[in-house]
């Protein structure tokens, strides 16, 4: 899931002041931002209180099913068109993808209410960890299922670096060095991979922005799998 963090509140107020917004509609997201406890109903209630305290009226709010889903978000904005029309701006408590989806669905100025930080594993309720940066060229086959691109703070494919000491990482000193973990697991499974060869430099063209995948055919039918991914 996408992990989000609260955005600096002063910055949000400054954004709203820029467009002289006295009345604001607030939108959350029923998926990631709800699980991350940054853009669910509770956080919207909290934001509403803070906005009121700052003298800004909240004309309404909604938590759509998935903010980054274009169709769903369009439907949600239509459903609340009355209170959105009354508002001077929309504040979105979701990841940046959701903010943009909302911005496409309304003609009102739309502002981000959160900071999007990473694609996270849910370690347990309320504890998230970044394990994959979606590099487009997975090396987990050679690294015993431990991602060096993401979990080594330097993203080195071949390690450890010179800062490792007693199996501990130089940068995040309460973590074990990714490359020690990889070597250990490969050895436990009697496998080669990153332990017995030099992994080649990454092909960064595999993650050129913006990414796009189209599983529909040229005429727009579903599931023809002729689309391209970049």
């Amino acid at each position: 899931m996408i992990i989000t963090k609260p955005r600096e509140w002063d910055r949000i107020l400054a954004n709203l002041a820029e467009v002289d917004a006295r009345r604001v509609f607030v939108m959350g997201c029923g998926q990631c931002a709800t699980v991350a406890r940054t853009g669910g109903e509770d956080e919207i209630a909290e934001a509403t209180e803070r906005l009121s305290a700052a003298g800004i009226e909240v004309t309404g709010w909604a938590v759509g099913e998935v903010a980054c889903h274009s169709g769903g978000t369009r439907l949600e904005t239509r459903r609340h068109s009355g209170s959105i029309d009354e508002a001077d701006a929309v504040l979105v408590l979701s990841c940046g993808a959701g903010v943009q989806t909302v911005a496409d669905a309304t003609s009102k100025p739309v502002f981000p209410g959160l900071e999007s930080v990473f694609l996270g594993n849910v370690v347990r309720h309320g504890v998230f960890e970044e394990r994959c940066q979606m590099c487009g060229e997975c090396v987990l086959d050679m690294t015993a299922g431990i991602c060096p691109v993401t979990t080594c703070p330097k993203g080195l494919l071949n390690g450890p670096c010179g800062g490792m000491w007693d199996g501990t990482c130089e940068v995040v000193t309460d973590r074990e060095c990714t490359h020690v973990l990889i070597s250990r697991r490969l050895a436990e499974q009697s496998r080669g991979g990153a332990s017995d060869r030099v992994l080649a430099p990454k092909d960064h063209s595999k993650q050129l922005k913006p990414g796009s995948v189209n599983l529909r055919g040229e005429r727009g039918e579903r599931g023809t799998r002729r689309g391209t991914a970049r």
Binding site: G155, L156, N158, C161, G162, W165, E170, V171, K202
Partner: protein, 290 residues
């Protein structure tokens, strides 16, 4: 031809030193270091934004060492440049007459003076060694023939004391396969661990230059233990410096003992004087090297 490579190949016990380029353009202090250390060493490392802190580039500073009549070891970290910049700097270095190259990963920017910087790490040090070896054979990293190649004596870093050793050993052997002709090691405090590394790495043909750090004061010991990644001063040595009446003299004595012990098992020593350049001559003389 690189005098360093020549000496290593002849089996001579080599001595390398280290100078740091300035933050700014005034080279006076670095020139003084070069003038002191140059005559004592086969070659001098010129650091590259060491500790992820801003300094004048190793490329320009290495050329200054060369112009002063000494042999530089051009250092290049993977932290600050992508593969295009790394390759073009290697080509530039060769045309500037720099014949020795030490590639290192580089400390993370979060520990340096520009913590907001993006660490590049497009290429890691093992990959960069392979690229440099390709350039020595006249090819860029895509395998294309270039109009003129390089002929670097290729070095890398090794870490004989950072456990787990089995992981370090494999990593060092990969670096040798990728092209490392010599290693300059992290500071050596435990001669037995260095001996273990020498025994297991030298059969690959790589030369091992042992790092010697002048622990000139209790403050330096504290700094290493608290702030420097990948290194710890063992308690008994730290205590020796802390309890000494004259810590500098004690550190010179300690370094001399270390060099003497390493003469039997290493291919050379790399002395990091931490500002007390004047002591290096004393250490080498004490160890019978001058």
């Amino acid at each position: 031809m690189s005098r360093l490579r020549d000496a290593l190949e002849r089996g001579e016990f080599v001595v390398t030193g280290e100078v740091a380029p300035p933050l700014g353009t005034d080279m006076t202090a670095m020139r003084e270091s070069v003038a002191t250390l140059g005559p004592l060493c086969h070659a001098l490392n010129v650091t590259d934004n060491q500790g992820a802190t801003l300094h004048l580039s190793s490329l320009a500073a290495s050329r200054v060492v060369l112009d002063m009549g000494f042999e530089p070891i051009f250092q290049q970290t993977c932290r600050d440049r992508n593969r295009l910049a790394l390759q073009s700097d290697l080509l530039a270095a060769w045309t500037l007459g720099l014949e020795n190259l030490l590639v290192v990963t580089g400390d993370d920017p979060r520990g340096g003076d520009h913590p907001e910087a993006k660490g590049v790490f497009d290429i890691d040090s093992t990959q960069l060694l392979a690229i440099a070896r390709g350039m020595n054979e006249g090819r860029d990293m895509l395998g294309r023939e270039m109009a003129g190649g390089t002929g670097f004596c290729l070095g890398a870093a090794a870490f004989p004391e950072a456990e787990p050793w089995d992981v370090q050993r494999e990593r060092a052997l990969r670096k040798v396969e990728a092209g490392a002709e010599f290693f300059q090691t992290q500071a050596v405090f435990d001669i037995e661990k260095f001996a273990r590394a020498a025994e297991e790495l030298r059969p690959s043909g790589v030369k091992l230059i042992a790092g010697i750090l002048l622990l000139k004061s209790p403050r330096v010991v504290k700094f290493i233990n608290e702030r420097l990644a990948g290194l710890m001063v063992p308690e008994h040595l730290g205590a020796r410096i802390e309890e000494a009446v004259d810590p500098l003299a004690e550190s010179i004595e300690l370094a001399t003992e270390q060099v003497r012990a390493l003469r039997e098992i290493a291919d050379g020593v790399h002395i990091m004087p931490l500002g007390v350049d004047a002591a290096v001559g004393e250490v080498l003389a004490g160890a019978g090297l001058t």
